[in-house]
Subunit: 283 residues, 2 copies
């Protein structure tokens, strides 16, 4: 996806958040923001917004010396997601055996974004998730997805946020023997890296990474192992907006699962804000 | 007020809004944002945020050729404010004779910011204003203000948004014979310029302007007439955050009337969000 005009204020806000989490030193925070603004002033309007976010993470990490500013948030998100899953199993036990409900949970998990709900507690999180589970979803796309998963010999599953990853683990359980997971190579926002797999219940599954702290998978910047994984998978399941923005104009056999959160993405796919998306990039 | 780190994303959002209102040409919008980002990358951290906003307005106006992107919003705000005042007079007639209530209305008018409530209608506006009228306010500061107004031979009243200006007119009615109004010299956001005075009921009162589209009054960039007005007034009443940010570190005899809207200002004055402020800059 090409950057839209409204990506600019949002990317600056993102850089501000990263600067704030990366260091307590006000001078370093300013230096990070100045460098990010400088970089963004010569924005390449042909590269997805995740490319620009990547530059911000690199700048923040280089100037602050902090390679993992979201570490605490990721741990909190994962631990909250587990508590929530236990509570959900109690109330929605039978419902959660169903493919559609598990899928919805994997998509809805995306709302548990610690950077949005800073003071997320169990009750609020439960409310947000239950609302998401009751949202409409494209049932034809779900039927197609179920069939493609059944038919696929190999599936590349590109993860998004830590926390959400707990529900990814729950969703892929029935077909995990054919899954390879895709993660970020270095900490990028609150996205899943190797260290988050075991606490998310995703250990023991083959993994490939994008080699960097780019918050998505842009083929042009992907290492050979990731390119092989993209090329050889019968089906690619890409979670979250970052993977969508990075891959939606490629012709790999991808289904994007995400909650349409930002106005720019909603406009591009003509969707309502906060809607649950199951989008194939091939007819 | 010095810029805070969170002024940066906010100033970029402001530039995005101005770019969007200034032109329909996507290339020009991008050019505006690129130039603004470039300028902001070498931010002068000693100058108030209004200085940076000013640069954005200049860039937007220069690139788009549109000198008054907020013209329609200003007219709508003024017309809405009049309708609301009529409705308020019906329901709160007696109450509005009172100095405190008129003052609160003049401050609360600041919430009718068309750029915040894009689809503001009469019912919503009424609700917002009535809520604001019921908020607590510093009664000692109000007593002092009343006395200073009574004692002053000359008052410089620095206006803020168009729309809010209708309530300024209502507030200053009893003492308007000693008032000189301060406006922006060129259109800056939805701030009052000469053309908005008559429709706001503020005609027939002496006026001085800041010569530019700077959304505040920074002495360093003010023309001689404004500097004389600042120097010679017994009392300066400065409306809105823009005037506060620009003048709060000066030692003119100023009372700042505004709603504390942004986190940075709230932090600087240690105030609750959306609280009504009557702040003297001298003991």
């Amino acid at each position: 996806m090409k950057p839209q005009l409204d990506c600019i204020p949002c990317l600056v806000k993102n850089a501000f958040n990263v600067a704030n989490l990366s260091t307590d030193d006000e001078d370093l925070k300013r230096e990070i923001l100045n460098r990010v603004l400088q970089q963004m002033a010569s924005l390449d309007w042909d590269r997805p917004p995740t490319f620009t976010a990547w530059q911000s993470y690199q700048i923040a990490s280089e100037i602050s010396g902090n390679p993992n500013p979201y570490q605490a948030e990721k741990q909190n998100s994962i631990s909250l997601a587990w508590k929530l899953l236990e509570a959900l199993k109690k109330d929605y036990g039978n419902k959660l055996d169903d493919f559609t409900q598990r899928l919805k949970l994997a998509i809805a998990g995306n709302v548990l974004d610690y950077s949005i709900y800073g003071d997320l507690n169990l009750d609020l999180a439960m409310e947000v998730i239950v609302q998401a589970l009751e949202k409409p979803i494209d049932n034809d796309a779900i039927s197609r997805l179920k069939q493609e998963i059944d038919n696929a010999g190999s599936i590349l599953y590109l993860l998004d946020n830590a926390g959400e990853s707990v529900y990814d683990s729950f969703f892929i359980e029935p077909f995990k023997h054919k899954v390879t997971l895709g993660v970020r190579g270095l900490p990028a926002s609150n996205d899943v890296t190797y260290e988050d797999l075991e606490p998310s219940g995703l250990d023991g599954i083959p993994v490939v990474d994008n080699a960097t702290n780019l918050p998505g998978v842009i083929p042009e910047f992907s290492p050979p192992a990731m390119l092989d994984a993209l090329k050889n998978a019968d089906l690619i399941i890409a979670k979250g907006q970052g993977n969508f923005e990075s891959l939606n104009e490629t012709d790999y056999p991808i289904v994007f699962l995400f909650m349409a959160k930002c106005p720019a993405v909603c406009r591009v796919i003509n969707a309502a804000p906060q809607s649950l998306q199951v989008l194939f990039n091939q007819p």
